[in-house]
């Protein structure tokens, strides 16, 4: 027969298992990637655009009253931030390239993996992802683009954290009716 002491031990053990179960069902998002070093490399005055969207706003966007087109994509996201830097000066562009390489190395050291690296004439595209250890689900995405082929050469940094569906992101990106990266008129 089960005595009270044994029953209470089982109960306490069960309580300890509950948070562990929660932790497994909801893996933590990758931490927000700070773009400060990129901004510092080119100077604050050369920031063309800076975007930071916290979780609360993303939740509002995905809720009722939000844009239905992007609501489904941002529903699992925890943060979005982006910086676009002006690289019209060659020296500044060199500093930005170095800062981008340093940031990439730093992220790799923290467990981020390179998903894509494309080097074309005058343009470099890096895509890094942070995956959840067990489920291999993508929990963080960093896009680093240095494009000097355009009339307005720029470094584009974008960071998204949360549950990310790359296929959906790519698909929705096409249908967003926003001009392509090289055609973005950011001024």
């Amino acid at each position: 027969m089960l005595d009270i002491r044994r029953a209470s031990r089982i109960f306490v053990f069960g309580l300890l298992l509950v948070p562990a179960g929660w932790a497994q069902t909801k893996p933590a998002a990758a931490e927000l990637v700070d773009a400060t070093r990129l901004v510092e490399a080119v100077g604050e005055e050369n920031v063309r655009l800076r975007i930071t969207i916290p979780k609360a706003i993303l939740a509002a966007l995905s809720g009722a009253g939000g844009d239905p087109e992007i609501g489904s994509v941002v529903s699992g996201l925890e943060s979005m931030n982006a910086v676009i830097l002006d690289l019209s000066n060659a020296e500044r562009a060199a500093r930005a390239r170095k800062a981008a390489r340093d940031l990439e190395a730093d992220l790799r050291g923290k467990g981020w993996e390179e998903l894509a690296y494309v080097q074309e004439e005058g343009a470099t595209v890096r895509v890094l992802v942070r995956t959840d250890g067990e489920s291999k689900q993508i929990r963080g995405l960093v896009v680093l683009v240095i494009d000097t082929t355009d009339d307005e050469p720029a470094l584009v940094f974008a960071n998204v954290t949360g549950t990310i569906d790359l296929a959906k992101l790519q698909q929705i990106g096409q249908g967003l009716n926003v001009p392509g990266l090289s055609d973005l008129n950011l001024k």
Binding site: A60, A116, I138
Partner: protein
């Protein structure tokens, strides 16, 4: 300050109040007040402060009084007064309370409604801004992914899968799982 001076101050302040209320002072009172204010700094400061308070009070918009509402309040207070048959002091208190309630309702309600509308307008503006920003970040990320995909496709067509993987360690399904590193032919 002597008792005579204090008496002068008391009289001068009474005259100052009267003048601020729009009363036309007798010439000798006006002269007395002006002479006193010229020589008494505390009264001069008080006069300026009172004038400022009055100016600010005049700046508060006075809502139009709805005749039907006034009629209802008047009717209810009259009935209450008649039924109670209380003392004059009690009736006065009720009338004062009704007047205070009416004033609060007339002044406070539009203010509360205005505040709420303002908050909703700010929220709507924030949501619109966040929507545009989220679209831009998604477009940037989607564009980078498409660009990487296009580069890989072109490379595969032109130089074969080995060269493409050498240049771009990209995986579209099961992202970041057992990817070859740069320099590894893979195929």
């Amino acid at each position: 300050m002597s008792s005579i001076e204090r008496l002068e101050c008391v009289r001068a302040r009474r005259l100052a109040h009267a003048r601020l209320d729009g009363d036309v002072l007798a010439p000798e009172d006006a002269a007395l007040l002006d002479t006193h204010l010229a020589g008494c700094e505390p009264c001069r400061v008080l006069g300026v402060e009172l004038a400022e308070i009055q100016r600010e009070l005049r700046g508060i918009p006075v809502p139009g009084l709805d005749a039907a509402v006034l009629e209802r309040v008047w009717g209810s207070t009259s009935r209450a007064g008649t039924a109670a048959r209380g003392s004059v002091a009690r009736r006065s208190w009720r009338v004062a309370a009704a007047a205070a309630g009416l004033t609060l309702a007339l002044v406070g309600l539009p203010w509360i409604i205005g505040e709420r509308r303002e908050r909703e307008a700010v929220r709507d503006a924030e949501m619109r801004r966040a929507t545009v920003e989220a679209r831009l970040v998604l477009a940037v990320a989607g564009s980078a992914l498409r660009r990487a995909e296009r580069a890989v496709t072109e490379d595969v067509l032109v130089r074969g899968i080995g060269a493409a993987l050498d240049r771009t360690p990209i995986r579209w399904s099961g992202a970041a799982r057992s990817r070859p590193t740069r320099g590894d032919n893979g195929a």
